[in-house]
């Protein structure tokens, strides 16, 4: 199965791919397509993945327009082009009630947990 991972940060793309690989218990073969936001839509249209993970999702306009924080734009573009059987997950640090949204722990949460 083709899985597309979209992030402006190469390290995040790699770590998500690695997490999926280890957590899937090796039952299925995956082909990971790891891209940044700029090339995401075009690669989605050519590669036709059935699963898409989009990080840096942020609706706050003050930071959501930043190049490294444009997950909401990528989500809108890919959602518009995708058929209904494609599963698209959005990820970010803010809190949203969408069923397809996963909230990542914020750095400040980590600092609190570490009592730093």
């Amino acid at each position: 199965m083709k899985i597309m991972i979209v992030s402006g940060d190469k390290a995040i793309r790699e770590s998500i791919a690695r997490a999926i690989y280890f957590l899937s218990k090796g039952g299925e073969e995956f082909e990971f397509i790891k891209v940044d936001h700029q090339e995401a839509l075009e690669r989605f249209l050519t590669e036709e993945p059935m699963r898409v993970i989009i990080s840096e999702y942020e609706e706050d306009e003050s930071i959501g327009q930043e190049e490294h924080n444009r997950g909401h734009i990528t989500f809108k573009d890919i959602k518009g082009s995708a058929s209904e059987d494609v599963i698209i997950i959005r990820m970010g640090f803010s809190s949203y009630d969408y069923k397809d949204y996963v909230k990542a722990h914020s750095v400040s949460d980590f600092m609190k947990m570490l009592k730093l």
Binding site: Q38, L41, E42, L45, K76, D77, G80, S81, S83
Partner: protein, 135 residues
């Protein structure tokens, strides 16, 4: 890759357009504002093989007024030499004069810009786009 850009701000109409376009074997990208349309045209460059645009939709995501931004999309399509079809219910906006504007742009473009008006008919718009592409 045969990609059609649909410019339409209403979610329900976007769904209908998607059914028509994907059902005909094309890939679709959707813009709901003029700035979205410009961005997608810039991002996908020569990969967009046709455009179907509404006439009245916001300029930007937070835009409250529905201006006749479709005219700007037609001009951009002419500049980029991409076939374009207008799909709009202009009578609901009391803006029949827009057809005159589109006819003027048609002369400027040197080719037909079909105008499917009075109702949103995506299948008919797609057929007209195919006709232009094949001619």
């Amino acid at each position: 890759m045969d990609i059609i850009l649909v410019v339409e701000d209403k979610t329900e109409e976007q769904k209908k357009a998607k059914e028509a376009v994907v059902g005909s074997g094309f890939k679709i990208v959707i813009a709901s504002t003029l700035s979205d349309a410009e961005r997608l045209m810039g991002m996908l460059k020569d990969k967009i093989s046709g455009i179907i645009t509404d006439i009245h939709f916001p300029e930007q995501e937070d835009g409250k007024e529905n201006n006749p931004c479709g005219i700007a999309v037609i001009v951009l399509a002419i500049q980029k030499n991409i076939p374009v079809v207008v799909c709009s219910d202009i009578n609901s906006h009391s803006a029949g004069y827009l057809e005159t504007v589109v006819r003027g742009l048609e002369k400027f473009a040197g080719r037909k810009i079909p105008f499917v008006m009075n109702r949103k008919n995506w299948d008919e718009s797609l057929d007209k786009l195919k006709e232009i592409k094949e001619s």
